[in-house]
């Protein structure tokens, strides 16, 4: 059976997408949905709006993100900004360690 590379890519991407989202938010301190999608698109990590917003909602429910609404200076488009909580920072640090271990393992096998 031939390996379906596209399917493999999708599965792998699912694994590190949440890590990338948390990394981006940590880097910028706080981001709102459209801004996050644009940045992911720049990095060629395409993600549908109908997937991102429920994901952000779940991460907020899990306590990894905190959200605040802002409307000052924005005409008619209230923006919901997301920032990492202390729990989110801790979880992200663990995810980074795990990811780095996986990369080291693959490099080790490749030698």
């Amino acid at each position: 059976m031939q390996l379906d590379l596209d399917n493999w890519r999708v599965q792998v991407k699912k694994g590190y997408l949440e890590l990338c989202i948390l990394l981006l938010i940590r880097k910028r301190k706080r981001m709102y949905g459209l801004e996050l999608l644009e940045r992911l698109s720049d990095l060629e990590l395409s993600l549908k709006e109908g997937t991102l917003y429920p994901m952000l909602n779940r991460m907020t429910d899990d306590g990894l993100l905190a959200s605040t609404w802002e409307t000052e200076g924005i005409k008619g488009h209230p923006r919901k900004f997301y920032a990492l909580t202390r729990k989110g920072l801790g979880a992200l640090s663990e995810m980074e360690d795990e990811f780095n271990k996986m990369v080291e393992l693959v490099l080790k096998i490749q030698k």
Partner: protein, 308 residues
């Protein structure tokens, strides 16, 4: 069908599919998605609204399913069994299907928009006008209740309590529908001056275990000026109304379901503000880790929190 109708119809369908969630959470999801659609459409006017709705977001049922499954909930439409029932109805009664579609369009018009926020005019309108917070005219309207500066046939009620003598550490002020002007005073007494309708009851005061409760629940549509002694933590919980807080100088915790809170910070004071508005508007309020910072927490479900 013009773009506004397409967007509102999509959001109405999404709102229906999100039915297992609390109203306030559904409203917040709808506001976020609507705001995204409008901003994305403005940034790229060449991209048709249909593509944003159908390709970028997808079917309302599928999007709602993602929100719900993360919380261990099922979509309200009932899954596979619902599909079979709907198919049977569609095949058996075309007229019934057309009626459902028409009723849906009428619901879109009636409740449209679900949430409308106008920052320039300081106005938040929810559920087609059921809740209307208008800063320009200083009015909060919830259903048939209207809170503004006008109060016909009013009587004045004055009261005060020596909080230090009674060993009070916390003051609680619950109210139903009112307009409150809150400030702090260096005097020892908690003071309230209320204008109420002629047939209203007086405020109830209860003291227990270091907590003084000034209960304004039974004063419907009251206007009260309240002066709180410095050194007293205060919690104010209201259902509907308007609040103005001038120069807070002590820890304050305000929660309001529907309405407006306006804060005038003291420029000589460092504050740690924690302000949350679920559906509506809020100005930027600074936070501070400074040990001497006055903590002011404000939570409004529907409405606005503004800074003077």
């Amino acid at each position: 069908m013009n773009n506004d109708i397409k967007i509102e119809y999509y959001l109405l369908q999404l709102d229906r599919e999100l039915k297992p969630l609390p109203v306030s959470e559904r409203a917040e999801i709808i506001t976020e998605i609507k705001s995204h659609i409008r901003e994305a459409s403005e940034k790229d006017p060449s991209r048709p609204i249909d593509r944003i709705l159908q390709e970028d977001f997808g079917l309302p049922k599928v999007v709602a399913g993602r929100y719900l499954s993360a919380k261990g909930l099922k979509p309200s439409s009932g899954g596979e069994r619902g599909k079979k029932v709907f198919k049977w109805l569609a095949v058996g009664t075309v007229a019934f299907f057309a009626f459902i579609f028409f009723a849906g369009m009428m619901a879109v018009w009636y409740f449209s928009p679900l949430i409308k926020v106008d920052n320039e005019k300081g106005r938040v309108v929810l559920l087609g006008g059921l809740i209307d917070v208008n800063e320009q005219i200083g009015q909060v309207k919830v259903g048939d209740l209207v809170v503004n500066d006008a109060l016909k046939e009013s009587v004045e009620i004055h009261g005060d309590e020596d909080v230090w003598e009674k060993g009070i550490r916390l003051i609680k002020i619950p109210f139903n529908t009112a307009k409150l002007d809150v400030s702090h005073t260096e005097k020892r007494r908690l003071v309230w001056d209320c204008k109420v309708s002629a047939d209203a009851e007086s405020p109830q005061v209860d003291v227990s275990a270091g907590v003084l409760t000034l209960n304004l629940d039974r004063l419907n549509l009251a206007k009260c000026a309240i002066r709180i002694p410095i050194g007293m933590r205060t919690e104010i919980q209201g259902v509907n109304g308007s609040m103005e807080v001038e120069y807070p100088r002590e820890s304050l915790d305000i929660s309001l379901n529907n309405g407006r809170v306006k804060i005038l910070p003291d420029p000589r004071q460092v504050y740690d503000f924690d302000v949350k508005v679920k559906n509506g508007l809020q100005d930027f309020f600074p936070r501070s880790n400074d040990k001497g910072a006055v903590k002011v927490k404000v939570s409004v479900v529907n409405g606005m929190v503004k800074k003077e």
